[in-house]
């Protein structure tokens, strides 16, 4: 650790897993780190999640480990960036708590927003009582009551809600929803062993270590029924059950099923709260609104602007391990930058 590093201030915006991990790493390198989080707690979306795929690790344990020792990191929750100015060297950042920081480097770990499932009008989220989202189901798994979940006997999961969907402006795959759906399908089957559980998918993107095993277990141990076809329309029948239309593309036939619960796998979209920062710093974004790194292969943590770095889902959908690895990589990129510009 170089003692002079302590003279250098780094501001990290966004206190989710990327921000926490990067802050800790930068702290261990001796830098003075300011971590800014607008919500009242650290953890971002991870703090709302119950368990993580593929092994069912409790999200709270992961977050607990990450935040167990924050070192000398100065972290501020319930705090927003109110003003950002580019200086000749570094940036001046004014916070909603009245603080002003002269930062030598800036790391954006602003993450994503969960897709607003009510935008897919045909699925009736916010209209039909028994339609919920993946996030609502995680709430329920964590013990928060969700009235829609009332001893369901027939349960459906819809993959790709707000992902792979040009009509809502999201052509991309959100990467985590397939694995989340399979994880949640198994979990809910454990809670309701007599229920029939369907997953409506277009492709099962089981790319990660352990994911294929999870899928195989979902099929063989839990008897989850996988229907290849996108749900096209949902409506309510007379008793408030959900009438669902899809095509079983492998059978080449339309498929109709009545369900007691439908879970929409809302994907990741750009975090709109980051827009003022993007404008103030004139940052480049991609056509879907995610931040654009300098080079997606070799400089994925760098922006086009000197001294500004990215980590995590602010540049596109990421898993937790992806995010943690990027956070470490961003810390190293910042370290190199500050060393070279000393």
């Amino acid at each position: 650790m170089e003692p002079k590093n302590q003279q250098k201030n780094i501001v990290v915006i966004g206190g989710g897993p990327a921000g926490i991990e990067a802050s800790r790493t930068l702290d261990s390198l001796g830098y003075t780190v300011f971590l800014i989080e607008k919500e009242d707690r650290l953890g971002g979306h991870l703090a709302r999640w119950d368990r993580l795929f593929p092994y069912g690790t409790p999200a709270g344990d992961v977050l607990g480990q990450m935040t167990a020792s924050m070192g000398r990191v100065k972290w501020f929750t319930g705090t927003e960036v109110t003003q950002l100015n580019r200086l000749e060297r570094g940036y001046n950042i004014i916070l909603s708590n009245g603080m002003s920081v002269l930062a030598d480097a800036l790391l954006l770990t602003t993450g994503f927003s969960l897709f607003d499932a009510s935008r897919k009008e045909e699925y009736g989220y916010g209209i039909y009582d028994r339609v919920i989202t993946n996030a609502d189901l995680e709430d329920w798994f964590s013990g928060i009551p969700v009235p829609a979940i009332d001893s369901p006997r027939r349960i459906g999961f819809v993959h790709c809600v707000g992902s792979r969907d040009e009509k809502v402006g999201n052509r991309y795959c959100s990467k985590v929803c397939c694995a989340t759906a399979v994880k949640q399908a198994c979990e809910i089957k454990e809670k309701f062993p007599d229920a029939v559980v369907y997953c409506f998918y277009m492709d099962l993107r089981m790319f990660g270590r352990g994911y294929e095993d999870m899928y195989l277990e979902a099929q063989k141990k839990y008897g989850i029924i996988f229907v290849r076809g996108r749900v096209s329309e949902v409506s309510e029948d007379k008793d408030g059950h959900l009438f669902v239309k899809a095509e079983d593309t492998l059978a080449g036939k339309p498929l109709r099923v009545t369900l007691d619960l439908l879970v929409l796998m809302a994907g990741m979209t750009r975090n709109t709260a980051v827009a003022p920062i993007v404008r103030a710093l004139e940052l480049s974004t991609m056509e879907d609104g995610f931040l654009k790194p300098k080079d997606s292969m070799t400089q994925a943590q760098s922006s086009y602007a000197a001294g500004i770095f990215y980590a995590g889902a602010c540049t596109g959908p990421k898993t937790i391990p992806d995010t943690v690895a990027e956070a470490k990589a961003a810390a190293m990129s910042i370290n190199e930058y500050l060393r070279d510009n000393d």
Binding site: E121, G126, I127, Y128, D129, S235, E236, G240
Partner: protein, 357 residues
């Protein structure tokens, strides 16, 4: 069902509807099948609400039937519609209202095409000039007649003599609203309420005291489809789609179906006869009668106290008497098949499986 959720979606699909001064274009099929609907529309807006709706006897079909059955190219429809606009210009109007949903869809499609391809509009100016030495400018606003009924819904309810309430039970009548595909499925943004949860008829029904039935196949096409009913070999397709809708709405026991499309109105009505005569089955809670199918204008007029036979409701296949009785409408049973001046129109032959009087 969360009504607030629907309101959120409706708030995203609102359109500006000018209150007055329209050029009115009729529907080809409706003025033949249910002429009273258009007559009632004009009478309501002009004589009850004092609005200025102008109709020019020189206006023609929009060509939509030919266009949608692949017998004329789009340029032909464009030129015909350009001529209607020219008539509107000549009469000094800037707002255009059409009676037919297919017409509304076609007008919207053409205006959008011209918006995106000004060179096509240029060509149509040239074609119209060559064909009949006319020029035109596009309307400021294009409306469907159901938009107007929605817009005036509170004026209608102020003059309601027989609201959509069952006089025997005091309960709201259960109304199925059916929106023609070409009203909002082509351009959801040009409709009231969008394509998934259209508001235009639901809003009218609620304002008149009825309750809207939200049944699973609510969004489904009636199956009308020009290429389906024009070719006899394809008619089973049309019939099957209507059948699917009736099977889906049956558990809700609707008292009435309200539509905004002349084609849907006709086929949801007539196919009940074919279903009855091929399967013996009728729908609705009055055994043997079926569910009456009325247009938005007919419902408005009935609620406002127009005589059902002046309105031409005897032109519908499914008998309306059970509905009239539920609403408490005063009517002369024996006048059903009397024309203007008491002229005898003749009593139709009664089908075996669906009662007509």
């Amino acid at each position: 069902m969360n009504y607030e959720g629907k309101k959120k979606i409706w708030s995203e699909f609102q359109k500006e509807i000018p209150d007055d001064k329209y050029f009115y274009a009729r529907s080809c099929i409706r003025q033949n099948f249910n002429p009273g609907a258009e007559q009632a529309f004009l009478d309501i807006v002009r004589n009850r609400f004092g609005k200025d709706f102008y109709e020019d006897p020189l206006h023609t079909t929009c060509g939509g039937i030919a266009y949608h059955s692949d017998t004329t190219p789009e340029e032909t429809s464009m030129t015909i519609i350009a001529r209607q606009f020219s008539l509107m210009n000549q009469a000094g109007y800037r707002n255009f209202v059409v009676s037919c949903v297919t017409s509304f869809g076609l007008h919207s499609e053409i205006l959008q095409t011209w918006e995106e391809h000004p060179e096509i509009e240029e060509k149509i100016h040239e074609l119209l000039w060559k064909a009949c030495r006319r020029e035109f400018t596009k309307p400021d606003f294009l409306m469907h007649s159901s938009d107007m009924m929605y817009h005036y819904r509170f004026l209608i309810s102020e003059q309601a003599k027989y609201p959509l309430i069952n006089v025997r039970t005091g309960e709201p009548l259960k109304v199925v609203e059916h929106i023609g595909c070409h009203y909002s499925k082509i351009f959801p943004s040009k409709s009231v309420g969008g394509a998934e949860y259209p508001r235009v008829l639901a809003g009218l029904v609620e304002a008149l005291g009825g309750s809207v039935v939200d049944y699973p196949e609510r969004r489904h096409c009636c199956g009308f489809g020009f290429r389906q009913y024009l070719v006899k070999a394809n008619r089973g397709y049309s019939l099957t789609n209507t059948y699917k809708k009736f099977e889906s709405m049956e558990p809700f026991h609707p008292d009435l179906i309200i539509t905004n499309c002349p084609g849907c109105n006709y086929f949801l009505d007539r196919w009940q006869y074919v279903i009855a005569e091929t399967t013996g089955k009728t729908y609705g809670d009055t055994p043997g009668y079926g569910i009456p199918v009325l247009s938005s204008e007919e419902v408005a007029a009935l609620v406002m106290g127009y005589d059902p036979w002046d309105l031409g409701l005897q032109m519908h296949q499914v008998a309306v008497e059970p509905l009239l009785d539920k609403m408490g409408v005063q009517y002369d049973k024996s006048a059903k098949y009397k024309g203007p001046g008491g002229k005898d129109l003749g009593v139709p032959v009664s089908p075996a499986n669906i009662r007509i009087f």
